[in-house]
Amino acid sequence: MAELLTHVLLAYAVFTVLGWYVEWIDDRWIAVGMVGSILPELNRLALVVPSGWVSSVLGVPFAWDGLHTVVGTALLSGIGALLFGSSTHRRRAFLVLFAGGLSHLIVDLPQRYADGKLLTNEYLFPLTTWRPPTPGWYVSADRWVLLLAVGVTLAILLLDRYRSWPSDAGSASTGTVPDRGQP
């Protein structure tokens, strides 16, 4: 896993760009997408309640890592979506939470693994055991990953401001119209 700050910043960047093309993706839904990018990391509940404890209480095998998968993320997105009141909000919440969660898994994918292969057998469980080679770009403690994420986010933030300038300028000039009329 990359650390969560990288995931949340990249989700912010991705949903901001999506918002340029999809009319309903505004600040509210960008924030929901940021929350979505945390969902797979709920496997860290293991730090609070170890999988072994759950397993001994339930009497069956149990692994929080089931959440760090595409199916686990879809289930968590469904739970999150049911916390919204209207059907439009629920539909959008599911889509955005799930897309945010997928962005997390995609960012985690090209990490370095000792046997040189991706963890697709876990992420895509139970669909496949296929494990193609990993490019091995980083491990979670590599500091440059966050620096890159901050750079990307700032660039998108600037572009986003730049895109909204023409309309801001338009409303600003409208605002000055009455002043112009005065001597």
Binding site: L5, G52, A114, A141
Partner: protein, 158 residues
């Protein structure tokens, strides 16, 4: 959809999610898995393995490391001292190599250091907590919690 229907839906999905985590644990995603190795080391003597573990100790010459994941403890040999030059007890590594039983040993082909020690761990946890807070703050700035309606409502809307 009334709140009680949504609550029922959430309960059902929580049960399904729990069931999925059970199925995930019960299925051999890895062959052999680390619990397979711990349960019956002799049966896996000579197997190619990938093991994730917490470093218990680094031997003085830095060519061997003892790792544990809570169930399996193994001594990792044939380690390149350069790879583990900064590694401390408490760090986290992955090892790919050949497993030998009695005592549990892995002759490493490749070692990847995920977390060298305390400072890496502080960095990863610290930035992760910051990331979590950032998402929660962004969310609560644009949505509010309607407790009675059991739902999130966009701020500025009733």
């Amino acid at each position: 959809m009334e709140p009680r229907h949504r609550i029922l839906g959430i309960v059902v999905l929580l049960v399904v999610t729990g069931g999925f985590c059970v199925q995930f644990a019960a299925t051999d995603v890895w062959t052999p898995s680390q619990s397979d190795l711990a349960a019956d080391p002799v049966a896996h003597d000579g197997d190619q393995v990938l093991v994730f573990g917490t470093v218990q100790s680094v031997e003085p010459d830095r060519d061997a490391v003892v790792v544990s994941d809570g169930t399996l403890e193994a001594r990792v040999t044939d380690v390149d001292p350069k790879t583990v030059s900064g590694l401390e007890a408490g760090g986290e590594i992955q090892v790919a190599g050949t497993f030998h039983a009695e005592p549990s040993t892995i002759a490493a082909d490749e070692v990847v250091v995920d977390i060298e020690g305390e400072s890496d761990r502080r960095y990863v946890y610290g930035t992760s907590i910051l990331g979590g807070l950032l998402a929660v703050v962004a969310f609560l700035r644009t949505w509010r919690i309607d407790v009675r309606g059991f739902r999130f409502v966009p701020r500025g809307e009733r």
